[in-house]
């Protein structure tokens, strides 16, 4: 307001005294115009300011974006892109009978080395490297290390960005059949494998191949999986051929019942072929003979898991029940050499059954106790011509296992286990195990 007045005064002062009236009037008019111009502009500005203040009062201003704060969230670290690394240390002490061989009566063994050593020993150490490769793939590598041996347990890629519930996995991987199959020994609830998996696969079924998984867009968890592969592992063999060596199909459903209960169940099917699959059996005379099986092996598996935790809080008490069962059909030819067989070619036809059921209860934080019952049924076994040389048994192998484990943290576990092993006819054995499992490095996430 003041400024136009001052300006007018200054202009008036600067005006020469002898200016004529006409000039003076023109000048006055100009000054007056300037004055009104300024006043309208200032009024407009005042009005805008008032409007802005009013809208700020009604619209509470949102808190300032934490610009500096977010910057601190991602520290720059040259090692940040290294894969996740973890190492599993396992070992312990086993008190076992001195037996020349541990066989499962009535089942063709997988020919793998027998289980745990007597006394103190370290089990295979597992080295795991895993990482997202790019936005499209994840890679995973798991090697087992022991004296003079390195085994590639798993080495696979998995898609991340297919969408529609689809995931493709390729390379060497544990098959998605059954429940326990995908778990490595350190994730087992007992120090030893169950009898069913021992009879079916030795440890678990792994394969070189491709897996397609699909999760349905439903509230009820529904997953379907299909696998094709080389089929080199027991109960199949490496047959040096092109094409598809084996296939597997599986489906799982699962869900929650209230806050406290959750479950998953499924059915799986594995079809593979064996050529000259060698195993050692005992003939009627008690002599070890070598057999070679060539033919088809078809396995059906059913699995069910149920977990309970009060209000879903697993930290204090929780309970887990798991059971699986199988039916395996093998048919083909069986060569038998040595002992009473001499060198005789027979047929082989077997339909066999078995399963296990286990319960593990966390009775207080860090402490769990569990019991597992294993039962196999040799079903019908027909050696053809060799029925004269090889005994067939109705004996049903069983095993009872009791364990207690203590986990000082998520990364360490100590376990004591007692097993009454009746896997071989006439060979009752009391077994004791003390086991440790330590996990170093990246915090691994475990499946259900």
């Amino acid at each position: 307001m003041l400024r136009p007045a001052l300006l007018a005064a200054a202009l008036a002062a600067a005006c020469p005294a002898h200016a004529d009236d006409a000039d003076l009037a023109a000048l006055r008019a100009e000054v007056q115009k300037m004055k009104t111009d300024y006043e309208t502009r200032i009024q407009t500005l005042e009005a805008r300011l008032a409007r802005a203040e009013a809208s700020a009062a009604t619209h509470a201003a949102p808190p300032a974006a934490p610009v500096q704060d977010t910057a601190s969230a991602a520290p720059s670290n040259p090692g940040a892109f290294n894969p996740e690394i973890s190492l599993i240390l396992q070992g312990g002490y086993a008190h076992l009978k001195d037996l020349p061989a541990r066989r499962i009566t009535g089942f063709l063994p997988d020919g793998a080395a027998p289980g745990t050593s007597r006394g103190f020993s370290v089990d295979d150490s597992e080295l795991v490297l895993a990482s997202n490769i790019d936005p499209y793939f994840r890679g995973y590598f798991n090697a087992t290390l022991n004296d003079g041996t390195v085994g590639v347990e798993e080495a696979w890629f998995q898609t991340l960005a297919l969408g529609q519930g689809l995931t493709v996995k390729g390379g060497r991987f544990r098959s998605g059949i059954g429940y326990q199959n995908e778990q490595h020994p350190h994730a087992w609830d007992f120090a030893t494998n169950n009898l069913m998996y021992e009879a079916l696969f030795g440890e678990g079924y792994g394969n070189d191949g491709l897996q397609l998984r699909w999760v349905a867009p439903t509230d009820l968890f529904t997953e379907l999986g299909a696998e094709i592969g080389r089929g080199a592992n027991f109960p199949g063999t490496d047959r040096n051929t092109n094409g598809i060596g084996n296939y597997a199909l599986y489906g799982h459903i699962g869900g929650d019942v209230g806050d406290s209960h959750s479950w998953r169940g499924g059915v799986s099917y594995l079809s593979t072929r064996a050529a000259e699959r060698s195993s050692t059996l005992t003939d009627f005379a008690g002599t070890d003979v070598t057999t070679a099986f060539t033919g088809n092996s078809k396995t059906w598996l059913a699995d069910f898991v149920w977990k309970w935790a009060p209000r879903g809080n697993t930290t204090i008490n929780n309970f887990k029940f798991a059971a699986e069962a199988f039916r395996r059909e093998e048919s083909g030819s069986l060569d038998c050499t040595g002992g009473m067989c001499g060198a005789s070619l027979g047929t082989y036809q077997a339909t066999q059954y078995g399963g296990y059921a286990q319960g593990v209860y966390q009775f207080m934080p860090r402490w769990r106790a569990g019991y597992r019952y294993d039962l196999l049924d040799p079903g019908s076994q027909d050696f053809g011509l060799n029925n004269a040389n090889l005994p067939r048994s109705d004996y049903k192998p069983t095993r009872h296992s009791l364990m207690v484990d203590y986990s000082p943290s998520e990364f360490s576990r100590w376990r004591l286990q007692y097993t009454k092993d009746k896997a071989a006819e006439g060979q009752d054995e009391n077994q004791w195990y003390v086991q440790y499992i330590f996990s170093l490095g990246t915090h691994g996430a475990h499946s259900f």
């Binding site: 999760v215 867009p217 199909l249 869900g255 959750s262 879903g312 930290t315 499946s447």
Partner: protein, 299 residues
């Protein structure tokens, strides 16, 4: 082959199952509640955990995989809080939209400055988080910050409802700022109040209200205290007394109750998140109850 036929049927029938509303998978109840505040009818929120479950230790249950499969947006705390289970869900769900790095993956902890960033990373220190303490939801100012980012994210992935999200966010901001002013006024007497905590879960609450934490019951984060350790804390509290000992609703009540009995101070279960108490039915109730619980002792 039957499996293949079922597979084909389900693939063909897939559009039937599709939903119009935006499916939000919230890892924790506070983010589920926030998504509901900001999304209203435009979103369908599934909350993966409850206030009575320890978010560090959740089973990667089949039901969670099924929900993650259909999610358009996953809202989680991050900062390694869910490291034991969320990665399994993300990998097994076969959902490309919610993979880390995609707009459909939202980490709340990235929106705020984290406290207690460990100087040394060593598992001998217990269950520590490299990025800092992830329990950010106990400070309403953090909720406000996360709300800004989440509101923007909802609008980004669901542009059809962008205007509605914007309006709801502005409305939430107004109500939240009013409520914060109220809580701060109510909580004035709490400033400087000495407290003991069972788990290092409350640094943000302490920071907000000016509480003074004088003792932690867990010797190391995630490690349950032994009786010997608790006895030491009772002795320690004789020289530096605390007004009360607090724990989250999901935690084992025994350590803080033992301490309460032996140190002669009240033990209080804080709701910690939405659903943790009868009053904590939504985010507003959560802080109404948290402040009220503390005030009850301060008087």
């Amino acid at each position: 082959m039957k499996a293949f036929r079922l597979f084909a049927f389900l693939v063909a029938a897939w559009p039937v199952f599709a939903h119009a509303a935006l499916n939000v998978f919230a890892c924790e109840p506070e983010w589920g509640a926030l998504a509901t505040e900001l999304g209203g009818d435009a979103v369908k929120v599934y909350t993966a955990t409850t206030a009575f479950q320890d978010p560090h230790h959740i089973e990667a249950r089949p039901s969670l995989i099924a929900q993650m499969r259909r999610a358009d947006l996953a809202v989680c705390t991050g900062a390694e809080l869910e490291i034991g289970w969320l990665p399994v869900l993300l990998r097994q769900a076969g959902n490309a939209a919610i993979q880390p790095g995609q707009p459909g993956y939202f980490e709340a902890a990235r929106q705020v400055a984290l406290l207690e960033k460990p100087a040394v990373l060593d598992r001998a220190q217990g269950d520590i988080h490299a990025a800092g303490n992830p329990h950010i939801q106990t400070d309403p100012r953090n909720i406000a910050r996360v709300a800004q980012a989440l509101g923007a994210r909802l609008a980004e992935i669901d542009p059809a409802h962008a205007a509605a999200y914007k309006t709801r966010l502005a409305d939430f901001n107004t109500r939240w700022n009013t409520a914060m002013a109220r809580w701060q006024a109510q909580a004035a007497p709490l400033k400087g109040m000495p407290i003991a905590v069972q788990h290092e879960g409350f640094p943000y609450l302490e920071n907000w209200l000016g509480l003074k934490q004088v003792a932690v019951l867990e010797p190391k984060p995630g490690v349950a205290p032994s009786l010997g350790h608790l006895a030491e804390i009772v002795a320690q509290l004789k020289t530096t007394p605390a007004k009360l000992v607090i724990r989250a609703a999901y935690q084992d009540p025994r350590p803080s109750e033992w301490l309460a009995e032996h140190a002669g101070i009240p033990a209080v279960a804080m709701p910690f998140t939405v659903g943790g108490s009868d009053r904590a039915r939504d985010l507003f109730g959560l802080f109404d109850d948290s402040v009220a619980q503390l005030l009850k002792v301060a008087r």
